[in-house]
């Protein structure tokens, strides 16, 4: 395993014991994500893409194999504030203002008052929410709430951003806009991003690499290097290169899918 890797998984297995038998959520998953990469995970529900992200975050414990984050265990990485996690729901606390929500991780991690104020201002600017500091979450649209939750994950400057279908509940137009913003953010912060989605265009538009997964048991069926340049205007989605990558993903998804059941 090389030193430059942000996330390394080796022969990862995870079996959930449930009331009616065991479910193999991950089987023999081996993957290395380099620093500064933007890796998307795509696949039908039950393919283990979310589970993989949760294992990396230390929210699930694998039953086999090994995972290292910045060369340490997920638990240590979490204590080192190595990653920020963005969930499908914004999950902002309604009793806190937008600034208060972004401040939450900083309070827990014990930053000084002035440092907190600085960071809150900076990340809110980054997600274009300046001026909304004192609003409460329910006064904002879904897209703005999700942006606030991204700001919250960015506030403590983790190198790795883990995003679990962050735009899944938003409409197409808002989604396009946020995709563009996220790409810009990744470009000038140089963070490593692990991004779960089930939208093929989203995966192709955003990532440097795309991991195609399939269910029962959850495993990797294809890993695609994205040939698109780093700078990507929205209309890159109409170019032949883009469509070619999308097609390969679609083929990978079909191959991993058995429609018999």
């Amino acid at each position: 395993m090389s030193q430059a890797a942000a996330i390394e998984a080796k022969n990862l297995d995870l079996t959930f014991e449930t009331g009616d038998g065991s479910i193999q959520a991950l089987q023999d998953v081996t993957l290395e994500i380099g620093k500064g990469e933007f890796v998307s995970f795509i696949g039908p529900s039950g393919c283990g893409k979310t589970t993989f992200l949760r294992v990396v975050a230390g929210l699930e414990t694998p039953t086999g194999g090994e995972v290292r984050v910045n060369g340490t265990s997920p638990d240590e990485a979490r204590r080192d504030r190595a990653y920020g996690y963005v969930f499908q729901e914004a999950g902002l606390y309604p009793w806190r203002t937008i600034a208060g929500n972004v401040r939450l991780p900083l309070e827990i991690m014990g930053y000084s008052k002035s440092e907190m104020a600085d960071r809150v201002n900076r990340v809110l600017e980054l997600v274009e929410l300046s001026g909304f500091e004192n609003k409460h979450p329910w006064q904002l649209s879904g897209g703005m709430q999700q942006r606030a939750s991204i700001a919250r994950a960015l506030a403590f400057d983790a190198d790795i951003l883990l995003m679990d279908e962050p735009f899944g509940a938003l409409d197409e137009i808002v989604r396009d806009h946020l995709n563009e913003q996220l790409l810009g953010l990744w470009d000038h912060t140089g963070k490593t991003i692990g991004f779960v989605t089930h939208s093929i265009p989203e995966a192709v538009y955003l990532s440097t690499r795309i991991v195609v997964m399939s269910p029962r048991p959850g495993r990797i069926t294809d890993i695609i290097d994205n040939p698109l340049p780093r700078k990507r205007p929205l209309d890159i989605r109409d170019t032949p290169e883009f469509l070619e990558v999308a097609q390969r993903i679609r083929k990978g998804l079909r191959a991993g899918q058995s429609y018999g059941d």
Binding site: L59, Y83, F87, G91, P94, L104
Partner: protein, 280 residues
């Protein structure tokens, strides 16, 4: 008979007036919303007065509102002493002690499944005990003065607060708890920053139920022994001497105190849980 007929007419008139207010453009304004219950309350009092006088209802059965008001005005000194004894000393102190104790036990129960299975059923058992059974025992233990009344109130308010707080502490989404885990938040940080705020709507449900229970408990407990003051003491002795106007005055005090107490807690609730969909 004319007075009785006047009561009927008044009732119709008030009904008509309220229907008009409710149907007019005033209905949604502050004036309209206040006017309807005020008109209703005043007409109930007026009809009560007219019916009692018109039908010559004996004082012992039902005194007229004006008679009660007269007694109330001339006995404010006694009423104040009783109010202080029962509401301020007995009910409020019992309420505060009971709520704090229930809250602390709820936190303990929340931390340990052993306590959850052990203490929660006992709490339910205590709540099921009739107050007429527990009050005499507590009066024996804590004496005739307000301390025993406070003890009765503690027993009465404990369970609703306990159950609501335990339920409230469980009312967080898995995602919100995961979020705190990704920050490596400690138990206390998660409690203070997530679970307690999230529990507040539940806690205030318990606190509101407990306000009325507290006053009832403090008044009823005085039936089983008290110094020669207190609302419950006054009610039971005045009934004995057929001074029904005094009984009704105490009831008026209890109603006012209960409403104010409930209202005060509701105000605090609105301030604390402003974010909850039911408040905003």
């Amino acid at each position: 008979m004319t007075l009785f007929l006047a009561a009927l007419v008044l009732w119709m008139a008030a009904w008509w007036l309220n229907t008009r207010i409710a149907g007019s453009s005033l209905a949604s304004s502050y004036v309209g919303r206040t006017a309807v219950p005020v008109v209703f309350g005043l007409s109930v009092l007026a009809i009560w007065e007219l019916v009692v006088r018109g039908l010559d209802v004996p004082q012992v059965i039902l005194p007229a509102p004006t008679v009660i008001a007269e007694t109330f005005a001339s006995e404010t000194g006694t009423l104040w002493i009783d109010f202080r004894q029962t509401a301020l000393k007995g009910a409020i102190s019992g309420y505060v002690i009971g709520c704090l104790a229930a809250f602390a036990v709820a936190l303990a129960i929340d931390r340990s499944t052993f306590l959850r299975h052990g203490l929660l059923p006992i709490g339910g058992f205590v709540a099921a005990l009739p107050i007429v059974g527990t009050a005499p025992i507590l009066v024996n233990w804590f004496g005739f003065d307000w301390q025993s009344k406070a003890a009765v109130v503690v027993v009465m308010v404990f369970f609703p607060i306990l159950v609501n707080t335990v339920q409230g502490l469980a009312d967080t989404a898995a995602m919100q708890r995961d979020l705190m885990r990704t920050y490596s938040a400690s138990y206390w940080q998660t409690l203070l920053k997530l679970r307690l705020p999230a529990a507040m709507p539940f806690v205030f449900n318990g606190l509101k139920i407990a306000t009325t229970l507290a006053l009832i408990g403090a008044i009823v407990a005085e039936y089983f022994g008290s110094p020669t003051r207190g609302m419950g003491f006054r009610i039971s002795t005045s009934v004995g001497t057929l001074e029904l106007a005094m009984v009704w005055s105490e009831i008026a005090v209890a109603a006012l105190a209960g409403t104010l107490f409930y209202g005060a807690v509701t105000l605090v609730e609105r301030w604390v849980t402003f974010w909850h969909p039911s408040q905003r």
